[in-house]
Every structure is written in structure tokens, then in C-alpha cells.
Symmetry: C2
């Protein structure tokens, strides 16, 4: 149960909020003098409010936020530093904490206080500013997402998600489909059960819709299909044109050589400083496992896969991607709303938009390579090395090549990988695709969209860790995020006229300022739709990504 991933679009809940908005059964007692523990001095969560029930709720959600932060630390340690022998007991500890959080969130007093606070809000709307209003809504949503879910399922979910990481890593040795199938079936079954309980609470009729909403509040299957179909049509037009254009050009000079890992990590950390990541509240580390996302606003330790010494572009790509996530996390409301639901990020699509804006959109501009190139020459001892020229780096990073591996995919073909996974997981969850037919469906899908054929399951349906850790409904976030990033970029170019020049000088201060002003600092004050409309003037559209791709790959 990650707080950051459990909320739903508010619009969906109007009915339920009405339903629970009955007269309170029992009046809460006035709170004793508040004591926020040992965080910074002034907190909105400690501020007096005329609704005593709301004060109680703020305290409860502060503690839930703390539990969530504790789970983050346990999880990062589990995945990066813990000795193997602690595996079983740590699984027990983590799933226990999830259960504790769940029980604390869903205990009877929560509903009573929500009733009471909503009643107060209804009768005295002037006591509620926009932050408190949004905060109470998020509290309600979170409660509704969990209230009818069996605690055993929550514990199982936590356990399976960590076991899944290990299972996936073990599979990389064997690639054994039969073994994977059993585990994936268990994950599908468990996630369906959880979705089913929520569907009943919230009157939603699709399990997959419910799972998607957990990661992306307010995003529907229907909207996703519309956007994806529209982008697919566009790509089917421009992808052959890009292929033809690049076939007529000379290929880039390969940059493969020996790049020692210490220098690479220095580069990665320095680039994160350039984009505005605060190392006082975070760090960047390597791991033999899959990269770990997440962290909290106070402790954003990013983890990327071990550096590949033959190619610095791989770890740089991961670092920029995680760095984009990191500056979003660090920019969320910290001083006044720490731990409160309104201070959370807007979910996976917005999160990926921030990662992909840095990694794919800004991090592959000619200007970025102008900034990077001379520093690379110095760092990697290659004075006037043509492989490290801005032109060659740009060419190398914008080269299109259909392949079977999502992680290695270029910016154009990336969408096909995501679209396939979206359709397959949707059908797996809603039951129209049997797990037995997954490998074949995968191969067919890859062949139909990109004309490539995976040689084995590891290059096919076993390549991603997501389903193993129980993330069904997450994949669309990559493509939606890419679209969103292009839409933000389109506006930023207008509002920061000399953005290109700034990037070529390694100056991201205005870029970060814009992101902070329009996205980070609001937390969940607005819904994703409202935020997008306010920031870019429009709801999410696929056309900006198409425009971006046309400009970069066909102009």
C-alpha cells in the first residue's frame, strides 16, 4: 500500500462521499495541545482548525505518512543493502507494517471523523480553504480505496511484491516460463481480489480500471485507449518516414569504449545537480537489482542499475530518468503539508512525465549535448574525440531502431512497447486473455507493431519486473507521461523563450522554476486534469507528442 498510489479521481466519488456524509454518531473530543513530534516547527497539520474531527484526521494521516516513509526505508534497504539471510524476516516486517497502516487507516473512527469533518465542511464552508478542502477529499478517497479490503490481502500484496523482485531476478538465469506462470497467476489473482473489493465500494465495474486508478487517479481505460489509438495512427504515418530518413543518413560513430564507473557516477551526480536535485535531501546509488523508485520529500535516495563500463550513455539515461522523478518528489509541499495526503504526487502518469521530460525530451536536445560534450571530453580523456561531439551524441541518442527490449527502445518505438503491455495486462486482469496465451500474444503483438520477434521469454513477456511486483495498470503511465511531457514542453518553450540557450549552458533554474510553479508545489491541490489545464491551457492530448517527434525526427 503505497500512499502515493492509492487515490482515485475525485469525480468518481461524489456519490460515495454523499453516502458517508451522514450525521456523526459520536462527537470526537477536543484534541490535547498538538505535538508534531520532531519535524520542523510549523505545520499545517498542527494548525488549529474549527473542525476537531479534521484535526484528528490530520494527525492520523501524519502517522500514516510516517509509516509510509518507514516502509520506504525498509524497502530500499531490502533491495540494496540487506544481507540475504534476513530475507524472510524482513518480508514479515514489511508486510506487518503494511497491515498496521491498513488497520490504522480503516479503523472505525476514521469513518466517523470523515463524516464529522465533511459535515462541518458542508455547514461552514468558509472554514475550509482550498488546501484543507483538497486534503479532506484525498483523505476520503484513500479511506474508500481501503475500507473494504481484507487486511490479509494487503499483507499478501506487500509480500508478493518483494518476492516478485527476487523471483524475477532468479528467472533471469533460467527464463523458465512455467515457473513464471505460476507466480504471475498468483499476482493476477491477488490483484483482481483487491480490485474487486474496491469496485464494490466505489461502484466501478472493471477490475483493470480500478487498478489503473490506483496508479493514475482520474485516468480511465476509455481515455487511455482514445489517446493511444490516436498516437498509434500518428506513429504509423511518421515512423516509416523517420526510418527512411535515417536510412539515408550516415550512422553515428559508436561511443563504445571503456568508461570507468567512478567517472560515470560523478557525471551522473553532477547532472542531477545541474537539473536541480538536492543532494542534502537525497543521493544517487548503484545496485545489482532493478532500479528502485520512490523515496520521500525528505529522503530521496535514487538507485540505478550498476554502471555499464562500456557505455556511459546507459547509466546517464537511468540517472536522468530517476533524477526527473527525484526533483518532482523533492519539490512536493514539504514544510507545511509533509505527510498529509494533499502533499502527495499526482500519480504515475505525472511522475513519468517528469522523468521522461528530463530523460527523453530535454536530455536529448542538441543544446543538452552542446553542454555535455566538452565536459565528457575532459572527464573521459577524449580531447576533440568525434564520438563525443554534440552532433554525434545527438545522432546516437535519436537513432531509431525497432527492437524487442522496452528499456533499450528509442523515443519513437517506445510507445509500441507500452501499448502492447497495456492491452495485454488489461485483458489478463479482465479475463479475456488467459495467462497460458500470454507468450504467444506477446510475440504476435511485437511482430505486428514493430516487425521484431523475441528469441526467448526473457526477451519477451518476462523482460519487465512490473507484473512480478504486482504492478498491473502502471504501464500506460509511460506513454501517457511521454505525451504529458511533450505537452509541458510545448508550453515551456513559449514561456521560457531562451530555454534552449539556458540548457546549452547547463542552467536549469528557470526550467525547474516552471515545473515547481506549475506542478511540484501543488501536490494534490488540483487533479491531474485541472493541473494540466492550468499549466498548458488544455487537457491531455496526444498531438503534442506527435508534434515533438515530427520536429525532432523529420525536420
Amino acid at each position: 500500500m503505497k500512499i502515493a498510489g492509492i487515490l482515485n479521481a475525485m469525480s468518481l466519488f461524489t456519490d460515495i462521499i454523499q453516502r458517508i456524509n451522514t450525521e456523526p454518531k459520536k462527537a470526537p473530543q477536543p484534541l490535547p495541545e498538538t505535538k508534531s513530534g520532531f519535524d520542523e516547527p510549523i505545520y499545517k497539520q498542527d494548525q488549529q482548525h474549527p473542525s476537531i474531527a479534521y484535526m484528528y484526521l490530520k494527525r492520523k494521516f501524519r502517522d500514516l505518512g510516517r509509516m509510509n516513509a518507514i516502509i520506504e526505508t525498509l524497502g530500499r534497504d531490502f533491495l540494496t543493502a540487506m544481507p540475504n539471510g534476513a530475507y524472510q524476516s524482513r518480508l514479515g516486517q514489511i508486510s506487518f507494517m503494511h497491515r498496521l497502516m491498513h488497520e490504522d487507516l480503516t479503523e472505525e473512527e476514521t469513518q466517523r471523523w470523515l463524516d464529522r469533518a465533511r459535515d462541518h465542511q458542508y455547514k461552514s464552508p468558509d472554514d475550509w480553504d482550498e488546501w484543507d478542502t483538497a486534503n479532506l477529499n484525498e483523505m476520503t478517497n484513500m479511506y474508500l480505496m481501503f475500507t473494504n479490503v481484507d487486511p490479509d490481502l494487503i499483507e499478501d500484496k506487500a509480500r508478493l511484491s518483494y518476492e516478485g523482485r527476487n523471483h524475477h531476478r532468479a528467472l533471469k538465469e533460467t527464463g523458465d516460463w512455467e515457473q513464471a506462470k505460476g507466480f504471475l497467476s498468483a499476482q493476477i489473482d491477488l490483484n483482481r481480489k483487491i480490485a474487486d473489493a474496491r469496485c464494490k465500494t466505489l461502484g466501478v465495474d472493471s477490475h483493470y480500471q480500478m487498478l489503473m486508478q490506483e496508479f493514475m487517479p482520474g485516468m480511465t481505460i476509455y481515455d487511455t485507449e482514445l489517446l493511444f489509438n490516436s498516437h498509434e495512427d500518428a506513429l504509423n504515418k511518421i515512423y516509416p518516414l523517420i526510418q527512411a530518413k535515417q536510412a539515408s543518413e550516415s550512422p553515428p560513430i559508436e561511443i563504445d569504449a571503456k568508461y570507468d564507473s567512478e567517472s560515470q557516477m560523478w557525471l551522473n551526480r553532477s547532472l542531477l545537480e545541474v537539473i536541480g536535485f538536492d543532494f542534502e535531501r537525497g543521493g544517487l546509488y548503484e545496485t545489482g537489482h532493478n532500479p528502485v523508485e520512490g523515496g520521500t520529500v525528505d529522503d530521496t535516495r535514487l538507485v540505478i542499475s550498476n554502471v555499464d563500463e562500456t557505455n556511459f550513455l546507459n547509466s546517464m539515461k537511468s540517472a536522468l530518468h530517476e533524477g526527473g522523478h527525484g526533483i518532482y518528489i523533492q519539490g512536493l509541499p514539504r514544510q507545511s503539508w509533509r505527510y498529509q495526503p494533499v502533499a502527495m504526487d499526482l500519480g504515475a502518469a505525472v511522475h513519468e512525465s517528469q522523468a521522461l521530460l528530463i530523460e527523453m525530451i530535454l536530455g536529448r536536445t542538441p543544446e543538452f549535448f552542446e553542454f555535455l560534450s566538452p565536459r565528457l571530453e575532459g572527464l573521459f580523456h577524449g580531447m576533440n574525440n568525434q564520438a563525443l561531439s554534440p552532433e554525434n551524441l545527438y545522432k546516437r541518442k535519436t537513432r531509431i531502431k525497432p527492437g524487442v527490449d522496452r528499456k533499450k527502445a528509442d523515443e519513437v518505438t517506445y510507445f509500441f512497447h507500452v501499448n502492447l503491455r497495456f492491452k495485454l495486462e488489461r485483458d489478463l486482469i479482465d479475463g479475456s486473455l488467459s495467462i497460458n496465451d500470454l507468450p504467444e500474444a506477446w510475440v504476435e503483438g511485437m511482430h505486428a507493431s514493430l516487425g521484431v520477434l523475441p528469441e526467448n521469454h526473457l526477451d519477451g513477456c518476462l523482460q519487465d519486473v512490473h507484473w512480478f511486483v504486482g504492478k498491473f495498470g502502471y504501464f500506460p503511465a509511460y506513454a501517457l507521461g511521454h505525451m504529458m511531457a511533450a505537452q509541458f514542453h510545448n508550453t515551456m518553450k513559449k514561456e521560457i523563450p531562451d530555454m534552449s540557450e539556458q540548457i546549452s549552458e547547463g542552467d536549469f533554474s528557470q526550467i525547474q522554476g516552471w515545473l515547481n510553479e506549475n506542478i511540484y508545489r501543488h501536490g494534490r491541490l488540483m487533479s491531474t486534469k485541472e493541473m494540466l489545464k492550468k499549466a498548458t491551457g488544455k487537457e491531455l492530448r496526444a498531438e503534442y507528442l506527435e508534434k515533438h517527434l515530427r520536429k525532432r525526427y523529420l525536420d
Copy 2:
């Protein structure tokens, strides 16, 4: 609130146990089918027992044990890896977890279940084997230690103990007594308040006695004074003889040179493997902070101060000390009693006995240096280097020199450092020494016992981290542990006749077997007194340490 440090001698509690042993108010319901979470398959804690209340208690204490393990992980991360900016929020998280544990332990149902289980035990003693009996006693003790303590004090204690580490580190720059005084006063005040609540519950009349019992169940001020006075008398006789003897001998060749830190850490880790430390369930790391003790039976990550490259003996000493702690932790009952109170260690004195047995007693035998010397020659490239000869290493590590620094003290003068701290903290807590008079009392004590004078507060009363982290009542454990180690050693020599030869071959298997058989595997099945009597035939006596020192330093 460390579980490992909160129990008291059972003998003290007979009255109170009687008092709470009234008829239960409300019968607990039968437990649903147990589910131990995701630890190993068979657990005593999951085993059916005719007392349903006891089943509930086992489940509660399993969860308390998990919380304690979680706090261990948060704390280790706090002290070794966390970014600075997370300082305040992590303090909040850790103190919150302590509060949660406290509330869970002291909630009303705990007493009800304890009443009920004790009643069952009284009526059907045959249902209770020795392990269940000891476990229930430890549960009762733990409950009594906390039941009347204000949760705010528990939160404050957790916070102050971490703040104290930082405070102490900052003081190392300034050495400012006035600043230290304020902080230490707050610690004394807080610890007195907690002790006061416990004294009332348990009918104990000395605050310091109460604090000492937290670290060393069953150990009284009176016994400690008797043992310390006896040892002081002995030392006053033999210490001048040792000084005279060593003054007539040639000094050891200094080993100061350059020893790279990677080789040192390899050596330290290898020596831990030699003594039987399991790296599958633990590790050894360096830190810029003070070393971190602790860990759990599943995750024993030891941390020592950053290696000194001019002298490998310093980090080796720390590694052997922490390694002694580590093998004790790892040897506690794991498979069947994990997380249950009966599986805890016996407290600080026994813990230090294990650390000092390895570090000071076995780790400074001529045989140990015989094993070590040729390997050092290879590791540090010093073939036939006389500084690394067994004889010189032995001479170097058994050289007596009075000094102001406890951590650098030799095996003979170490006691004087501990004895001074014991008397000062006893008087600080019981009020007969004012904090204002501490620096002077320290200087006087050092001069009277060892004839040395600290040049400043950092070499004097500010040198240790213990009081800053709120550990009042811990210091005696070092000297009591040293005595205990000598007493164990005395028996081991008889029961493992060729122990010396085994050590010279780097074979600690029989030594570890003896420690496991007599100490580790019992957890808290017996009290310290009972364990000592069973293992060595006698209660704790000072004479074995004197005998050991006479043999090593005067024969």
C-alpha cells in the same frame, strides 16, 4: 525502548506478578488459524497452547519484536547512510515507532491476557514447559517496565538518544562544556522521570538501580559495588607490580606504518569469519560516526569507526569487539522463538562479556598472534617483519600505560575508567552529584586512580557518547562483562583442553560451540545468575579476572 534492554530480574517481580494475578475480567476469544506472516515455517509462537491468552500474547510480542527490528533498521540507516536533510523527519519516524510500540505493549488487553495466562499457568502447570514459562515471565517483566510510563517520555527518550549522537559529534569540534551541560541535564532529567515511574510500579527505591536493571536484569548496585571494590583492591596490588615488570623490559617495536583500509577491512572480515560470524546474516561496515551496536538475529550488520590507516590494530580491536557482540546475537534462538521475549540476549553485562572475551581475552593470547602474524606478513607485505612477529604483537597489545582515554585503555587500567563512570553516573542520577561539579569530579577521579590529568573536557567527561544517548547505568556492564569473560574463560580452558592449539590454528569451532551450548542458545531461558552458575559452577566473582591478569601480566 529497545526490547533487549528493558527487562528486570524476575526475583524482583514476584510481588507484582502476584498482584496482577487476579481473576481475568474478560475472556479472550479463541484465535483464528495462526499465520506467522512470512517468516520461516515452524514457530513456537504459532504453536497451539491450551492458554488462548498466551497465544494472543505470543502474537502481540511477535509484532513488538518486528517493530523493534524495524527500529533497528531505521536507526542503522539514520547513523550510517541517510542524507542530512532527512534528519528531522527521521527523528519523527523513529520516535513515532517507539510510541507505537509502547502503546501496543501497554494497552489494556495486555494486562488482561497476562492475568489470564498466569492464571492458567497457576491452575495447569503441566501445560507450561520451561520455555513457555520463561517467555511468560519475560512478557510480564516487559509489561511492568512500561505500563506506568508516559508515552511522551518514551517518544522524548527516542528522540534525545539520536539527537545525543549528533550533539556529541558536534561537541568534538568545540568541546564546549556549557553546551554539553544543558543537554546532559535534559538527559538526566528525562531518565530520572522514566526511572521514577518504574520505581513506583516495581517498588524499587533507587532511580539508578532502576536504570541499571534496564540494561542488566538482576544486577544490583550493591553487588556491583562489592565486585568493583574487590577488583579495585586486587588491582591496587597487582597494577604497580605490572608497571615495575614492564619498566624492566624492552618496549615493543611500534607497528605504525601505512596499512591500506581495504586490506584492513579484508582482515577484519576474515577474522570475523574465523570466530564464526555468519556473513549470510550480517556484515561489517565502516562509518564516520560512533560504532553502532545491535542488529537482530537475522540481520546483524556491525559498524565500526573508519579505519585508521596508520595502525591496523585499532580497527582490528573494534572488529573483534563488535564481532563478539555479533556472534552472540546471531546465536540466539532464531528458528523457533524469533521475536519472543525469551529469545532475547541477557543484557549488557553478558553482551559485553562476549565482546571482551573475543577482543581482550582470546584476541590477545600469544596463540592468537601466532595465527595472525604470518597472515599479516603476507597481507601487509612484510616478510619476516619483526614488528609483525607474534612476540611483538603480543607485547604491543599487552603493554600497560595509564591514560585519560577509555577507548584506548589497556586491559589492566580499563577497569579504573569504568569504575569512575559508574560512581559518577550513580551520583548524578541519585542527585548526590550536581552536573556542575561533574568536570571537577572527573578530573579528581582520574588523578586519584591513574595519576593522569585530562587536558580538556573532550579528554575528560565529554569523551564518551553513552550519557549523550541517555545510557545511564550501562557503564558497569564493561567491567562486569570483563569479569564474566574471565570466568567463562577459566571454565573453557578446562573443558576444551587444547583450546590454545586450536586458536593458534584459527579454529574457533569448539570455542563457539561452548559459547553456544552454554550461553547463546538459551536466550533468556535462565537468568544471568542461573546461566553463569550452570556454565561455570559459580555466580559472578571478581577473582577470575584477577587470576587472568596475574597470569598474563605477571607470570
